[in-house]
């Protein structure tokens, strides 16, 4: 049972974080490159937090996040290029296309009870398949970047002359994703996903329809990332088959794992820390010695996994409990 005081402190901390997130662009806004970096970090936060629904809660090691991002980007981008569709609508359609694809794959996958490693590898292969398909599909993709039409500062076309609006868009999406995560964990679906993520047979014996639950998790996950894909395309101003990036999809899953399985803010924390470190290293030493930043990053990653197998979030939980629980105990006495 959480005490009132806990809740107040929690809310206060969250508010502080939010204010900080809101004013970041005002601090670093003069340097567009830095804004792009911070936005990238947040984008990984969005993806890893969405991943938490399928990976953290439902325990399915999904490695296809960039497949959904790419599908969202291509849908929204192509509609924009071809039919001058507003990306605001395009990104929702992109989300739906991602969901359609996820169901197309998810229904047989769960039907044939493909689990653990084999699920991971299938989804990993999916990203690579889409990459090849979009490279060969000249009408939509092709080997050359397709640029979105240029409008300077058009809200309707989601084209801005600066990265700052995209930062706020991604931040807004992040809040939505966190809220969805939070809502799910408080409802029947969340409890069912947690249970089946730990033991499918035991969950089924308690009346959990594991197939339907996993599909529902997949739908939330793919839709949220598909929507992010729409913003992604507009932020970079082009679409390209390299958006289907197997390596980065694996990274998103790793962020989810390292953050702490099933802890809603864990993946976000991992994204902020690890991607933050990575992007910082890339920006500071990446230009001089290529590869060095990745060496450092991967060593940090390995150390975190070895010494915090239950997740980065547990470090903060520990600190938090030490700070808060002491007061609570006094109250109890």
């Amino acid at each position: 049972m959480k005490h009132k005081k806990d809740r107040i402190i929690e809310k206060f901390l969250l508010l502080l974080l939010l204010i900080f997130a809101l004013i970041i662009p005002l601090i670093i806004g003069s340097n567009q490159y830095n804004v792009l970096l911070v936005t990238t970090v947040l984008l990984y936060g969005v993806m890893a937090t969405s991943w938490n629904i399928i990976g953290g809660l439902a325990g399915q090691l999904d490695l296809a996040s960039f497949a959904y991002l790419g599908l969202g980007a291509f849908t929204s981008g192509t509609l924009f290029i071809r039919y001058n569709f507003s990306p605001w609508i395009g990104m929702v359609i992109g989300g739906l296309v991602a969901v359609g694809f996820a169901l197309l794959i998810g229904i047989p996958l769960f039907r044939f009870r493909i689990r653990e490693v084999w699920y991971a590898l299938t989804t990993c292969a999916l990203v690579e398949i889409l990459k090849v398909v979009f490279t060969m599909w000249e009408e939509v993709g092709g080997p050359v970047e397709r640029y979105l039409p240029y409008y300077r500062g058009s809200l309707y076309h989601m084209r801005f002359g600066s990265y700052i609006p995209y930062y706020y868009l991604i931040l807004g999406l992040l809040l939505i994703v966190l809220l969805v995560n939070y809502r799910i964990t408080k409802t029947k679906l969340g409890y069912y996903l947690k249970a089946l993520g730990e033991d499918e047979i035991a969950a089924e014996a308690l009346g959990v329809n594991t197939r339907v639950c996993k599909l529902r998790a997949l739908v939330y996950y793919s839709f949220l990332i598909g929507v992010a894909g729409g913003i992604y395309a507009n932020m970079y101003g082009y679409v390209h088959p390299s958006f289907f990036n197997g390596q980065e999809s694996i990274k998103v899953a790793i962020l989810g794992i390292v953050g702490g399985r099933g802890i809603a803010y864990g993946p976000l924390l991992a994204a902020l820390l690890l991607v933050g470190i990575q992007e910082f290293l890339r920006a500071s030493i990446g230009g001089e010695v290529s590869g060095l930043y990745l060496v450092i990053y991967s060593v940090i990653l390995i150390l975190v996994v070895l010494f915090r197998p239950k997740g980065i979030a547990t470090i903060f939980q520990g600190i938090y409990q030490k700070l808060i629980r002491r007061e609570v105990k006094k109250e109890d006495v």
């Binding site: 029947k188 409890y191 249970a195 730990e198 033991d199 969950a203 014996a205 308690l206 329809n209 594991t210």
Partner: protein, 249 residues
């Protein structure tokens, strides 16, 4: 005990390769009774449970539950129909708290608004208040077993199947668990079927007993009949001829 049948199996058969784990088993369980299913190790008790709960599909035969044929229906549907079970090897949700686990069970029948009430009732009934926020990975075996029974009870079953809940418990723990199961049957009128090889538990708890040996139903009756049944004694102690030949080889 009423005269209305809740579960009936006919000619239930399952084999794995050359081994016939369950062989033409016909049995029936009546509403509101506590029955026991006993037999030596490898007699096919767990397989029998797996067959009636949909975890495994029988080669032959039929399972009828509350008048519905449930042969080869997936486990979650069987649970929704009102049959719930525990597992011999505790299958616990290690990262979830006791309360969360029970909540998973309670969602089977309850809507979002009534679920907490049910959870509280189950926790109170099984006296789990002290450990309700503990993670399952932090629990001892006795508490784990109790939580398993509790979460299965939370699904509001008409028939509750308990697969060796007493295994590995000390006799005091066993006695307490037994009395809780008995109380559950008396207060809620849930029909209970226990699989055991701890004879003491079955004899004290059950109104009727079925005995399986090598996949076949060799006896059924009230405890006193069973404990004097020659075939049952043979099944447990081994036939004289059999034990001689096995010691010779």
């Amino acid at each position: 005990m009423s005269n209305e049948q809740i579960l009936k199996t006919s000619k239930l058969t399952k084999s794995f390769g050359n081994l016939i784990a369950v062989n033409h088993v016909n049995l029936e369980i009546y509403k509101e009774e506590v029955v026991g299913l006993i037999g030596p190790n490898g007699a096919g008790k767990t397989t029998f449970f797996n067959l009636i709960t949909g975890l495994e599909i029988p080669d032959e035969g039929q399972v009828v539950f509350k008048g519905t044929d449930i042969t080869a229906i997936p486990p979650h549907k069987i649970c929704q129909l009102g049959m719930s079970r525990t597992f011999q090897v505790a299958r616990s949700f290690t990262e979830m708290s006791v309360e969360e686990v029970i909540r998973v069970g309670a969602y089977n029948r309850k809507k979002e608004k009534e679920v907490q009430e049910k959870v509280d009732w189950v926790i109170k009934f099984f006296e789990l208040e002290d450990i309700r926020n503990y993670k399952c990975s932090d629990l001892g075996l006795a508490s784990l077993r109790k939580v398993e029974v509790a979460r299965a009870t939370a699904t509001e079953p008409d028939l509750l199947l308990l697969d060796e809940v007493g295994a590995g418990l000390t006799s005091t723990e066993l006695f307490r668990l037994m009395s809780e199961i008995k109380r559950l049957n008396q207060e809620t009128k849930i029909t209970i079927c226990v699989v055991e090889h701890v004879m003491q538990m079955v004899m004290g708890l059950c109104e009727r007993i079925f005995v399986l040996d090598a996949g076949e139903l060799i006896a059924k009756g009230v405890p006193s009949e069973i404990s004097n049944n020659q075939r049952v004694i043979e099944a447990y102690l081994g036939r004289r001829g059999y034990s001689e030949s096995s010691s010779a080889s």
